[in-house]
């Protein structure tokens, strides 16, 4: 009888993440097709409709890119934190906190110059996200408390805080009892570049470049990588590993907070529990699929944005919007499985 064992490969193909993603996406399409066939829907028709309604026209493409913006920004926040080999499961909460940060500053400040006001509001969103991860970051570096647990738990706290605010102090009397804060004024709406495409997407491109630089080209990114590889090596090299981990967490939280701020100023225009529809969790999928690479996050995030838009419009032909969620999740599973075989190979164990 032959037995097999797994052995780690010496050299992993540099494009392996890309190939894994493509393979994972194909696997996801097959899974999606099977589910559609089981519902007596033609998968090719459904997918081509999704394609047409998500990127087939300037308008639908704009919607897709607007949808992708918070996913990408939150994904970047996760990737930056992962440079020190820590996991941010709290992007969802940070998105809410970013939106809360915007509204907080908006009701406490008024400026006539709307450009400066918008920039300050976005800064407030960034700080809100950073504030949201402050306690997980502190207990991580001071006591070594597992950040996966703490960032996850802050999501519930922040969503609870949002529910309190929109039902209590920030409740909009004109909202007909719908739990939401009042709309912000039109003067602080993020304008559109053209058609429906918001300036939020431009911010997203800028921050992708910034994250790419920070992670891959800067001294700070290098120090984060060493600190993530081994705290002892960092100390040996004269790098304050705990400080890098702390800063990485705050910056990553800020990126996710910004996602909430952009979403509020460009799409929802008010704080409600609907600010994010699980963007922070989808962002984890995107960041994981791309191996935490900012440019990959931008591309996959764009695709996932289009999938969401495509998924939401196929309801008209009687297909559940959840088909998009299934494809997103199956892409991650497929990509992870394929990536595994890039990293490991099966070895036959000889009997003698």
């Amino acid at each position: 009888m032959n037995k097999y064992t797994l052995s780690k490969r010496q050299a992993v193909n540099e494009l392996s993440t890309f190939y894994s993603f493509i393979a994972g996406f194909l696997i996801a399409l097959i899974i999606g097709s099977i589910i559609l066939l089981a519902q007596d829907k033609n998968p090719i028709d459904t997918f081509s409709l999704m394609f047409r309604l998500s990127i087939g026209s300037v308008n639908s493409l704009s919607s897709s890119l607007n949808k992708a913006t918070p996913l990408i920004l939150a994904g970047l926040g996760i990737a930056i934190i992962n440079t020190v080999k820590l996991w941010n499961i709290g992007a969802e909460g940070q998105i809410f906190m970013g939106a809360i940060g915007v509204n907080f500053l908006y009701i406490n400040l008024s400026l006539s110059n709307s450009t400066i006001f918008i920039i300050l509001l976005l800064l407030s969103a960034f700080l809100g996200g950073a504030f949201c991860i402050l306690i997980p970051a502190l207990v991580k570096v001071l006591f070594g408390v597992n950040e996966i647990i703490t960032t996850l738990l802050t999501n519930y706290i922040v969503i609870g805080l949002t529910i309190y605010l929109v039902n209590g102090p920030w409740k909009d009397p004109d909202s007909l009892n719908f739990p939401a804060a009042a709309y912000v004024g039109k003067e602080v709406y993020l304008p559109n570049i053209f058609g429906k495409l918001s300036y939020g997407f431009l911010i997203c491109i800028l921050f992708t470049a910034l994250a790419h630089y920070l992670k891959n080209k800067s001294v700070f990114g290098y120090e984060m990588r060493i600190a993530g590889g081994s705290e002892m090596t960092a100390v040996y090299a004269g790098i304050n590993a705990k400080q890098k981990a702390f800063l990485a967490m705050l910056i990553g939280g800020g990126f996710a907070g910004l996602a909430g701020g952009v979403e509020l100023l460009s799409q929802t225009h008010r704080v409600s529990t609907g600010i994010s529809q699980g963007f922070g969790y989808t962002a984890i999928i995107i960041a994981a699929i791309t191996g935490m690479r900012p440019i990959g996050i931008f591309l996959v995030g764009t695709l996932f944005g289009a999938l969401s838009i495509g998924g939401s419009v196929i309801q008209t032909i009687g297909v559940s919007t959840y088909i998009a969620d299934i494809i997103q999740a199956s892409t991650l599973f497929g990509a992870l499985i394929i990536q595994f075989f890039f990293n490991y190979k099966l070895l036959k164990v000889d009997d003698d």
């Binding site: 080999k85 001294v219 290098y222 081994s230 090596t233 040996y236 090299a237 000889d350």
Partner: protein
């Protein structure tokens, strides 16, 4: 020697590119105490881990009483009568002795526990109640329970990994007597893994020697083989190149003045009043058994450990209160003992690891240009003939020798004034060792002051001008290598200060 109870043929086990076991054949004879001798990293523990089912070999076969078996896990090994006592005990501290002994389903003394417990308590001279909680036991007592546990699990073949490392001399004699009784009265087959010749002599009848993953000699009768033969087998034929020690010695480069240090975690004193000076062109050795304060001293000199008393002066600059980076700027290099984990960051690329020393200097920064880093690494690869085909690959894809060359190269390329090298050749093969020694000699001739921390006395005698011996955090003796002999240094390392 005809009662062969266990035989392995051509066992091969690799970890990445490293062959931990290379075609190893090994025999065990019923009722005998066997020695398995070899230096650290020779493959002794790997072989035992194969026999006890922890590792699955890629090649080779195992025969127990002439029948072929594939030992798939420790439980399987235990059912085949093979038990292993690891260096770290596998006991449940909060359980009683009895519960620990009877925990396994392979336990054969369910019904006659007390009879068996009394019998073996006598053999091991263990005067304890079976209800005593294990956490109250001394290390020696725990080891006895651990060995009894594998006997209770019906092991006829007992593999003991460096069992004397944790014992006092009296306990060692006691263990020897117990094992002899087990071999003669219970016909247990025992393997003692060790790198101490004295124990091979005292404990064993048959000895096999491993080196670099290979079985270099097997089934020698201990009584018929001399210490010198064993040493030669174990160490191989190291060519002793005589190194000229008449090079020019210059001014003092490193001055360590009255350094004392307490471990902040448990407040235990690790260093007491250490004084030393190293001059340009001089290699000062620090001999000592691991754990006598060497790591702490190296960390204090390199700036990693900042909570000490005393002074560190490099090139006339008092840097006692300065950190790692300012010491690097004064051209100090540190090659730490722990290569992968301290010197190099696991999971990080070769190129990132290659610039750990200099990344903050302007020649690489301020934006950490990829081109400059790549050129920096290329220079290291050429100058120190490192085999690192893919700069973006993880550091752990390099062999141990190449990792050490990269680490040494990185620390030496800037021609440092002061070098601290801790165990720089540990675990490397003869050629790699020779290469590392030549690098250090080159730096010495160039005028570097070198502090060489090592357990390897041959290495220290070969390279150093002077030797200090550290014992329990104190420098207890100083030697000049040209007019001292190895044995007096060895005695000092054991704390014997004549």
């Amino acid at each position: 020697m005809n009662n062969k109870i266990l035989e392995t043929k051509n066992i091969t086990k690799s970890f990445g590119t490293l062959k931990a076991l290379d075609n190893v054949s090994f025999n065990l004879f019923e009722g005998k105490i066997h020695g398995l001798l070899g230096e650290n990293g020779a493959g002794k523990s790997s072989l035992m881990n194969v026999l006890s089912g922890l590792y699955q070999p890629e090649k080779g076969s195992i025969y127990i009483k002439k029948q072929k078996y594939k030992i798939s896990n420790p439980d399987h090994a235990s059912r085949l009568g093979i038990g292993m006592v690891h260096q770290e005990f596998r006991l449940i501290e909060s359980f009683s002795i009895k519960d620990n002994l009877t925990l396994s389903r392979s336990n054969i003394h369910k019904d006659d526990f007390m009879t068996a417990f009394k019998k073996y308590s006598e053999i091991f001279a263990l005067n304890l109640s079976e209800n005593e909680t294990v956490s109250n036991l001394s290390v020696g007592e725990k080891q006895k329970v651990e060995i009894m546990k594998i006997i209770f699990n019906n092991s006829n073949i007992m593999l003991l990994d460096e069992p004397t490392a944790v014992l006092t001399p009296q306990e060692t004699i006691q263990l020897k007597n117990s094992l002899e009784t087990l071999a003669t009265e219970d016909t247990k087959t025992i393997v003692l893994i060790t790198h101490k010749l004295k124990e091979i002599r005292e404990f064993t009848e048959i000895v096999s020697v491993m080196k670099n993953g290979k079985m270099v000699s097997q089934d020698l009768l201990t009584q018929k083989v001399s210490d010198n033969e064993l040493i030669n087998l174990m160490m191989g034929n190291v060519k002793k190149s005589q190194i000229n020690k008449d090079n020019t010695i210059g001014d003092v480069k490193l001055d360590v003045i009255n350094v004392s240090f307490k471990d902040p975690v448990n407040n235990i004193k690790k260093l007491s009043n250490v004084d030393l000076q190293i001059k340009s062109g001089e290699i000062l050795g620090l001999a000592g058994v691991s754990g006598n304060g060497q790591v702490e001293l190296a960390n204090i000199i390199s700036g990693i450990e900042r909570t000490f008393e005393g002074k560190i002066i490099i090139n006339d600059n008092d840097i006692s209160n300065k950190g790692v980076k300012s010491r690097k700027k004064l051209n100090l290099s540190y090659i730490p003992e722990n290569r992968l984990g301290v010197g190099l960051a696991p999971g990080v690329s070769v190129i990132d690891n290659s610039i750990v020393r200099d990344y903050f200097q302007t020649k690489l920064g301020p934006h950490l240009s990829k081109n400059r880093s790549a050129k920096y690494l290329e220079n290291l690869i050429n100058q120190f003939s490192i085999k690192a085909p893919n700069p973006k690959a993880e550091i752990s894809t390099l062999s141990g020798g190449n990792m050490q060359k990269l680490l040494m190269g990185r620390e030496l390329v800037g021609n440092p004034d002061v070098i601290i090298a801790a165990q720089p050749t540990r675990g490397l093969d003869v050629n790699a060792v020779e290469g590392i020694h030549n690098l250090l000699i080159d730096q010495r001739n160039r005028g570097s002051a070198i502090f060489l921390i090592s357990e390897d006395l041959d290495e220290l005698f070969k390279l150093c001008h002077r030797l200090l011996v550290i014992y329990e955090g104190k420098v207890i003796k100083s030697f000049t290598t040209t007019d001292s002999n190895i044995s007096s240094v060895g005695l000092a390392m054991a704390g014997i200060n004549e």
